[in-house]
Symmetry: C2
Subunit: 346 residues, 2 copies
DNA sequence: CGTTTCCAAGGAAACGTTTCCAGAGCTCTC
DNA sequence: GAGAGCTCTGGAAACGTTTCCTTGGAAACG
């Protein structure tokens, strides 16, 4: 049998009017039953439910939200960097779960760090009248976000700060986290430490580098590479650094994929036990490698939950000033970050 | 400044009527301009666009789809097992990208292998009048899916077969993949091989076990554990197997998390170089471990793309019989699967 | 010049729902 | 026993859009 098209479905096209006629009641009564409003005689309500079941009636959420006084669509939209990245998907999971508790659905899309894709997504989402937006912003004061603000859709920026009046934000204590990790390396005797970071347009990339520089001011002994955004790029850059006349005794990475790239290069050179490595953001299996990869771990689920909470507060009518929520990071020692500098070795 | 609520936004509440009044044209003309229909005088169209810009007008997709003849919402819904799982997020990513090319948005949710959550999600999605559904089904012939079919929403099952008339499916050649991997172990001299699999309610779990049994018929020498669904559970089970009087010389795992759990147990016992391990489904960093973890790799992006294609064909009016698409797997040798049986060692 | 043809443009109906309002039937109170 | 108050019900308007259909005017044709 062929799969029916929408028009041919049994229940498709059945409206409240049809249910009302079959149950022998008025349209308004059906609406009341469907929405669970009290004040309908029990036997009448049962008759309506039966008719609805018989006809295969399905409530139409789009028509409903169009007419309803609050015009809510019970939908929030999520603009991620890339759903396939574990950080993003953990964020999405947390937000989706928090939303589900309130009967809210989540639309999502990936910007791939591309401002024009971000703009497209925000535009599509506002056209669909999402009740609110949670965005991992590509830039500091993106036009798209500004437009959403002007339109009046509540907006929460997550993971990165944004220069927009009145936007709630949730971030991680990037600078402190990196500084603390760098301080540990310093205490272990490291003086030649390389920092590999993401594109400078990204807020977190700046913050993390700043934390590193708090301990290791940029200079010839502390080479900094920025703009790395893939495992391959980081791997290549690490090989270059290792081939230099005075290679670093430790690496600090500002991101997930970069950490993996560096580690890959170290393993290829057989140096993973001799050169220290600390990465920002935890990743699965970091503990199964030998040595385990020490990281500055964030809690993406927590980040998502806080973002959802801020957004829901706005949806509930909170008109207060913009809030900023900072979630702490946690250093996880697994071995790679505890390798001492050669000079400090016995 | 306080973040405005939806009612207070500048553009919020601006309708086509307002734009029409400001531009001094009729409502119908604005609609034509907004939808890019030809047959409007250029200067009039420009006037409309200007008025829309001035007022901050945003097209309302919900009202639009309500009235439009085809009643399309340009939305498809995705029911995953768990967005946070790399397999699921890769699937989502591929589907979202394919959909974006057609201007279609993707709603998604996680069933967590729970049929009642699956039912909730399918119901919510049909209430929102998604044009189509892509589902990783929890069961063989779920009520929820049947209901969607009856309602007439095109439905594609992905990753798992489903016993429903006329439902398109996309799966991987599970049985062949596992059988081929098992055959390699057999050739390497292994005779005591343990199989650890997921819950038997899951179609793929059955298929993969069947493939294993094609080579190693279930018996005392080939212990089978099923119903493992977390890293911890698998780790625990592996420890038990290793402590048995005659421990297996190789493990075959039917899933991602199980593979990791087994590997974790092997490393804790210091046996990762002596006992072979092959897992179904690749995972990041499998190659950075020593030895690297050999896997039967699937291509989730490909799976998602095929599912999207099947669905879009239905949306485009394809009324043909249900189709079934099988995507091949690929064995990736990384070391752990190439460890020979002790008897075969020199 | 009169008639037809064509095309741009606007008025109004309709999509499926929620919600206001009015009416009907009741009980309760003075 | 009549009016007030209450509860339940249904009719109809409205949400913002698309689309049918009509209209007015200009161009084309005899």
């Amino acid at each position: 049998m062929a799969q029916g098209r929408r028009q041919t479905g049994a229940g498709r096209g059945v409206t409240m009017r049809d249910v009302a006629d079959r149950a022998g009641v008025g349209l308004a009564t059906v609406s009341r039953v469907v929405n669970g409003v009290s004040g309908v005689a029990p036997e009448l309500a049962e008759k309506v439910r039966e008719a609805a079941r018989d006809l295969g009636y399905r409530h139409d959420a789009t028509a409903s939200s169009l007419r309803r006084a609050d015009r809510r669509t019970d939908t929030v939209a999520l603009v991620l960097e890339d759903v396939a990245n574990p950080f993003s998907s953990a964020l999405q999971r947390a937000i989706t779960d928090a939303a589900a508790e309130r009967g809210i659905m989540v639309l999502s899309g990936s910007s791939d760090e591309n401002p024009s894709r971000e703009r497209d997504l925000v535009e599509t989402f506002t056209a669909r009248r999402a009740d609110g937006l949670i965005v991992v912003p590509t830039g500091r004061a993106d036009d798209a976000l500004r437009a959403a603000r002007i339109f009046g859709t509540p907006l929460v920026a997550v993971d990165r700060m944004v220069d927009l009046e009145g936007v709630d934000t949730v971030t991680v204590d990037n600078r402190e986290g990196t500084a603390a990790a760098a301080a540990r390396l310093h205490a272990a005797g490291h003086r030649r430490v390389a920092y590999f970071g993401d594109q400078p347009t990204i807020w977190t990339a700046d913050e993390r580098l700043a934390g590193f520089s708090d301990i290791f001011p940029v200079g010839p002994a502390t080479p900094v590479r920025r703009g790395l955004s893939s495992v391959q790029a980081a791997e290549h850059a690490a090989h270059e650094a290792l081939a230099s006349p005075e290679p670093p005794t430790a690496f600090v990475s500002g991101q997930n994929l970069i950490t993996i790239g560096i580690r890959r290069a170290l393993q290829e050179a057989g140096l993973e036990h001799r050169i220290a490595l600390v990465g920002f953001d935890d990743f699965p299996l970091a503990d199964l490698l030998t040595p385990g990869v020490s990281v500055i771990a964030q809690d993406p689920a927590r980040l998502g939950l806080e973002a959802a909470r801020l957004l829901f507060a706005r949806l509930d009518g909170d008109e207060g000033p913009a809030r900023h929520c900072v979630v702490p990071t946690r250093y996880i020692a697994r071995g790679s970050g505890e390798i001492p500098a050669p000079s400090a070795r016995p």
